[in-house]
């Protein structure tokens, strides 16, 4: 029997347009929030989320309830909740589906999270390119305000929370949580050094929780149905369902929802996305967004959950699967990835600013037939600086490119050999390596 989806977040999704407040409420919407506000203390909400086993869906997979628990309760400063809707990683397109078709699930999730951490401001930082979706969200927020689901005295309780939709200006790095906060403060979106982590010193140096859209959208059903229900889904350490955008060389790309650990990568590709095109074979798969290390075709029988994918040498990340078939030139693919990250590097710290461009130069040279026998060693040495940057953007390019070279070394060696110049001509005008002599 072919594996199938398990729909929680995407349940009864109507693709004709955004679900409005009335139909959202008819389907049980805002009951979770009402239960929180009327029956639960904020600490109880945090406990529920801890028990549910929900892990952050943005990429790192950190337990959500634990993250909330880091917010210092005694701090005299205001607390902030920020919804990270700056979805921008190549291959990842899951959050937009939620915001576009079910915006109230995100808003309700924001309010539950804000209540749990005693925040009275929730910001939804949405990438600027999603202008249409931002409008949908803004309209939904207005609906929520009109229905007293946001603003002062929500649902007639003592709890008040403002929701602000803030549009970014088109930088991938603003999806990195500290870069996002800096951008939200109105500054250039440079990531910050950690520690201090946002939970202690975030937006305006006040305690802040940054959660991904999908994470927050999980909260209404957890609150409505209880932590035990959610924990019954998935595996021991990977609870619940996960949105999985599948793209690349498949016949039916799209966003699927699966129960974690109950389906393998191969099943997702073959059964949900209908496999690769006729006459082609899978060459490799990126299992968790463009920054996760690539898996080769023989590694696909791994159950799709955090631990199993990590055990296979990659990471679940955002859950975005990119399928590459046998037509892909891995050097070109590495170059394309490197170019993306070089373009999106904020440029503040040395290894990433200089390293991303250097990497592009080398890969470009190899790709164009100007490779040098030392190039792979140079890349390897360059990658030694992986953990010296401020944020993870530099790692985000090092990890996949390193994996590509490790898994497909022959392709790189062949490309270099094709371009290895005649060293007897070295230094002469027009020689590809004339720069060496300069």
């Amino acid at each position: 029997m072919a594996a199938s989806e398990t729909r929680v977040l995407l349940k009864d999704l109507d693709l004709t347009g955004p679900r409005d407040l009335d139909s959202y409420r008819r389907m049980g919407g805002y009951q979770g929030l009402a239960k929180c506000l009327r029956q639960f203390t904020p600490d109880r909400v945090i406990d529920e989320v801890k028990q549910s086993g929900l892990r952050g869906r943005g990429g790192a997979g950190f337990p959500t309830g634990v993250k909330w628990g880091f917010v210092p309760k005694t701090s005299p400063k205001p607390k902030y909740l920020v919804c990270n809707a700056d979805e921008g990683e190549p291959g990842t397109c899951k959050d937009r589906v939620l915001m576009q078709y079910n915006p109230h699930s995100v808003i309700e999730g924001c309010l539950i999270a804000a209540y749990a951490i005693a925040a009275h401001h929730a910001f939804i930082y949405i990438r600027g390119e999603f202008s249409e979706i931002a409008e949908i969200l803004e309209r939904a927020v207005q609906e929520a305000y009109r229905a007293h689901l946001a603003g002062t005295n929500i649902l007639g309780t003592q709890y008040s929370c403002e929701i602000i939709v803030y549009r970014g200006a088109g930088a991938y790095i603003c999806g990195e949580e500290s870069g996002l906060l800096t951008s939200l403060e109105g500054k250039r979106g440079n990531p910050r050094n950690k520690p201090p982590f946002p939970a202690v010193e975030g937006l305006y140096r006040a305690p802040t929780v940054v959660n991904n859209v999908e994470t927050l959208a999980c909260l209404p059903s957890i609150m409505r149905n209880g932590a035990a229900w959610y924990a019954s889904l998935g595996t021991e350490k990977s609870k619940g369902t996960k949105l999985v955008p599948v793209s690349g060389h498949v016949r039916k790309p799209g966003v699927y929802e699966i129960e974690l650990g109950k389906i393998t990568l191969r099943e997702i590709i073959a059964d949900l996305a209908r496999g690769v095109r006729e006459g082609h074979t899978i060459k490799a798969v990126i299992p968790g967004g463009s920054s996760s290390p690539i898996l080769s075709a023989d590694q696909l029988d791994v159950p799709f959950d955090y631990e199993s994918v990590a055990a296979a040498g990659s990471m679940l990340g955002s859950g975005a699967i990119v399928v590459l078939d046998n037509t892909v030139d891995m050097v070109e693919f590495a170059l394309r990835l490197a170019k993306f990250y070089a373009h999106e590097s904020c440029g503040q710290c040395t290894p990433c600013r200089e390293g991303t461009r250097w990497l592009v130069e080398i890969l470009n040279a190899i790709h164009e037939g100007r490779g040098h026998p030392d190039d792979l060693e140079t890349i390897q040495k360059l990658f030694e600086t992986e953990l010296t940057s401020i944020c993870l953007l530099w790692s985000a390019v090092v990890m996949p490119v390193r994996a590509l070279i490790e898994k497909f070394p022959e392709e790189f060696r062949t490309a270099i050999a094709r371009g290895t110049p005649d060293f007897s001509r070295m230094g002469q005008p027009g020689s590809p390596v004339s720069v060496l002599a300069e």
Partner: protein, 855 residues
């Protein structure tokens, strides 16, 4: 008082790098409570919690290389050069931003840390042009230094280097982006310290570059400090560029000659070519910290000017010419003075000296006039017209004013400034105020025009020109009410029939604004009161000081030693001139003068009437500076014998019978007393230009020729004498009670025309500025500011200049419409020696007429 330095030479290569110099404030003070002990490279160190690894390592004498970190700036930890290994930490940590943790074991020189540093150095160099041979930073470059100490000798990089276009940032600073390592120290300095975020990182990733909005030139007052902060050769000194290599220079400590703060500086000179080549700040936490303003840094090239006069000049056939062969000019001057003294008595001679000269020169000047010539007609106050000998400043000393603005501002939580446009008067004090504001201090300002603090101050009151006294009278009245201290008995007479609303109306400030200000002052903790020269030097100066002191008293800012008011001065040695007794009625240490004499105004009046026969003016262009230009011109024209000693031939010099060229500030050893009374020593950097003499040499030569038995006095010897004589026996707080003051009762209704207001401007065009190309290029054009209403009423078109006209003369200048200028006023800021603005204020006039040029 401290003994003067005697011959300190700081080798350029031995001086600390800007980044290593000085911590403005300890970082993260909120956690400075409990001790933390850690081990760094095998040595144990205990620091306060919150101390970073880099700081803790410094305590142990372990140097950790860094580019972006600077103790005075916020921490970004972006260069990644200071990475160290911490046991049990999977990643290397940036030591500049990571606080020491209890029990941590830290390795700054482990293989992993060293390797990381090598890699960062390699990455920083892959796009650096390595154009060290033509780079001004060569020889004191952190990139060179770290390449030697922490880098490797090869690079694996084999691609073309990234290049950027070169912008023009104005006359002071050269930006070479290709050399930039994006440490952002310059960006953070301008934003955090200078308060004008003119530089920013533009674009992103590998295209990131330092730039200004639309590539405009820099306009701040402190941009030069970015040159010191830049660890590489990206921001270099345009004035110094290509004139010398760093190792040719000899640096000596000196004191900035421009304003009364007396920033500590290093003068870099090259003896071989007798040139002063560069000025850099000398860190002094009590005065300027590690910063100086652009005027101080770039305002020196006049000393190298070819226009400097190199021999005495004597007037023959109406023109100044070198003396005839064999003529002894000193002998000639002394003979003339002796003849005048014999015929008309010593009171027919008078001397005026610039308050920018050293204490030693000022002291000998007054001693020469009083003891050798026997005349008490001396003064140093040449930029204001005052009929009285006493002024607000001298009065403040008598009542025991604190007069330590530099020290007070440093620790104040509330700063109230009355009557000073500080950013244009004492820029470094402005910088310190901005830093205080960053730390949560409150700024309250009252000024008579659209001053620079209008946007920065929590409360800003703009009163009518000259209405300081009215303003203070109401403010004090409201303050006493707010403080609820009971109305002082000694002031009941002062406030008889006082109508606060009417007086507030007369000074042009809304009652509500005054009330808010009074409330802010009443609730202020740790307040500092600053009184500008405009307020204490006016006709009501003494009354203003009395009212100001009363305010301090009402706020509790007094003790048995002093009363907490701080008067501001403008010139580099104004305070020294007072303490040296260059005053008509007071001698050294404010002792009664013997003999007494006339002040500047009375000297000039007497000379204009032919009663005073000879003037000796040292170091000042009196005609350009004195507000009553016509009187100064008349006086010099009418006097029988005028001697002027200065660096250049200016209007005053042209009116002289004998001109004596003197040495510039870099060629004079001596001491200066700053606005806070701090006596600071400046060393002689170069020998006086041949043919010139120091004021000290000049005065001694004149005295000896007069037959005075003056030994050969070196500056230190004079300092020893003046230290004994001139230390003012300051009275303890003499404010036994509130001081009564007078409130004018008459209404000063405008007569006709517009009221001309003058004020200081940092980048104006005085004689020295005109002869300093960089400063001249930076100087702002002279403009008249007019209110939009007046522009409308007068029907002025912005395309053409206007003629500002008074009975004393006319000037043609452009105007700008300024909504902060009160209607009925025309504001002309700054001194423009080439335009002679003070023609307009001749004969005490303050009214002008404005017509469009060409009408």
């Amino acid at each position: 008082m401290k003994d003067p330095h005697r011959g300190t030479v700081i080798h350029p290569r031995a001086r600390p790098f800007a980044g290593d110099a000085y911590a403005e404030e300890p970082k993260r003070p909120e956690s400075f409570r409990k001790p933390v002990t850690a081990t760094i490279d095998g040595q144990s160190v205990t620091v306060e919690a919150g101390t970073t690894i880099l700081q803790a390592a410094q305590i142990l004498g372990i140097y950790i290389p860094h580019y972006c970190y600077h103790p005075a700036l916020s921490i970004v930890a972006s260069c990644r050069l200071c990475l160290v290994e911490v046991e049990k930490s999977p990643k290397l940590v940036p030591s500049c931003s990571t606080p020491v943790g209890e029990g941590q074991v830290i390795f700054t020189r482990s293989d992993k840390a060293k390797r990381a540093r090598e890699q960062q150095m390699q990455l920083l160099l892959i796009n650096h042009p390595l154009d060290c041979p033509v780079c001004d930073q060569g020889g004191h470059c952190q990139l060179q230094r770290y390449s030697m100490d922490y880098g490797t000798d090869d690079s694996r990089y084999r691609f073309p280097k990234r290049t950027f276009p070169k912008p023009n940032l104005g006359p002071f600073i050269d930006l070479e982006r290709n050399r930039c390592i994006l440490c952002t120290r310059c960006v953070r300095f301008l934003e955090e310290i200078a308060g004008n975020a003119e530089l920013a990182v533009m674009k992103r990733g590998n295209d990131s570059l330092i730039g200004t909005f639309l590539e405009r030139p820099l306009h701040g007052e402190f941009s030069g400090n970015t040159i010191d902060l830049c660890p590489v050769g990206s921001l270099t000194d345009k004035v110094f560029r290509f004139r010398a290599r760093i190792w040719e220079l000899e640096a000596k400590p000196s004191v900035c000659p421009h304003c009364a703060v007396g920033c500590n500086i290093l003068l870099d000179s090259r003896r071989r070519t007798h040139e002063l080549l560069r000025i850099t700040p000398r860190t002094n936490p009590d005065v300027n910290g590690p910063w100086i303003c652009d005027k101080g840094r770039f305002g020196f090239d006049f000393v190298n000017s070819r226009l400097r006069v190199r021999s005495p000049l004597v007037k023959r056939d109406g023109e100044l010419k070198p003396p005839a062969d064999g003529m002894d000019v000193i002998e000639y001057i002394v003979a003339q003075w002796k003849a005048i003294r014999d015929r008309h008595g010593p009171g027919a001679l008078a001397g005026l000296i610039s308050p920018r000269k050293t204490n030693e020169s000022l002291y000998l000047f007054q001693r020469f006039f009083r003891k050798v010539i026997g005349s008490g007609n001396i003064d140093h106050r040449m930029d204001r017209v005052g009929l009285e000998d006493e002024d607000g400043y001298l009065y403040s000393i008598r009542i025991g004013a604190r007069n330590d603005p530099v020290g007070e501002v440093r620790k104040a939580e509330t700063i109230f400034i009355l009557g000073s446009d500080l950013p244009n008067e004492l820029p470094i004090l402005n910088l310190q105020i901005r830093q205080r504001l960053r730390h949560g201090a409150t700024l309250l300002v009252a000024h008579h025009q659209g001053g620079s603090y209008r946007d920065l101050a929590a409360r800003y009151c703009a009163y009518h020109p000259g209405a300081e006294m009215d303003f203070l009278a109401v403010l004090f009245f409201l303050l006493v009410q707010e403080k609820n201290v009971g109305f002082p008995g000694s002031l009941i007479e002062t406030y008889r029939d006082f109508n606060s609303a009417a007086v507030a109306n007369r000074c042009g400030v809304a009652m509500e604004a005054l009330q808010n200000l009074a409330r802010a002052l009443a609730n202020a903790s740790n307040a500092t009161l600053l009184l500008g020269e405009e307020a204490w030097a006016g006709a009501d100066g003494i009354q203003t000081v009395r009212a100001f002191a009363d305010m301090a008293r009402a706020m509790g800012l007094f003790n048995e030693n002093d009363v907490g008011i701080n008067l501001l001065l403008r010139h580099s040695n104004s305070r020294g001139a007072i303490e040296m007794g260059v005053l008509p009625h007071l001698g050294p240490g404010l002792s009664p003068a013997d003999p007494k004499g006339k002040n500047t105004h009375r000297i000039l009046q007497a000379a204009a009437h032919g009663e005073l026969k000879s003037l000796f003016i040292l170091g000042e262009d009196l005609i350009a500076r004195y507000p009553d230009r016509a009187l100064a011109e008349d006086a010099l024209k009418r006097a029988d014998f005028v001697v002027v000693a200065d660096t250049f031939v200016h209007d005053t010099a042209r009116a002289a019978h004998v001109f004596l060229p003197i040495a510039t500030f870099d060629e004079i050893q001596g001491s200066y007393t700053n606005v806070s009374g701090k006596i600071q020593q400046a060393e002689r950097v170069l020998v006086p230009l041949s043919g010139t003499a120091t004021p000290l040499q000049l005065l001694q030569a004149l005295a000896r020729r007069f037959g005075a038995e003056w030994d050969t006095l070196t500056p230190p010897a004079v300092f020893d004498i003046l230290r004994r004589e001139s230390h003012p026996a300051l009275p303890p707080n003499k404010m036994a009670d509130y001081l009564p003051f007078q409130i004018r009762t008459e209404n000063t209704e405008p007569v006709e025309g517009l009221c001309l207001q003058r004020g200081p401007l940092l980048f104006d065009r005085t004689g020295d500025v005109i002869r300093t190309p960089a400063l001249s290029a930076r100087s702002q054009p002279c403009t008249a500011r007019l209110s939009p209403e007046d522009v409308g009423t007068l029907g002025l078109s912005a395309e053409n200049s206007i003629v500002v006209e008074s009975p004393g003369g006319r000037v043609t200048i452009p105007f700008i419409m300024d909504k902060n200028t009160p209607s009925g006023s025309v504001v002309i800021l700054g001194e423009y020696d080439d335009l002679g603005i003070n023609r307009l204020t001749s004969r005490g006039n303050s009214r002008v007429r404005i017509i469009q040029e060409g009408e």
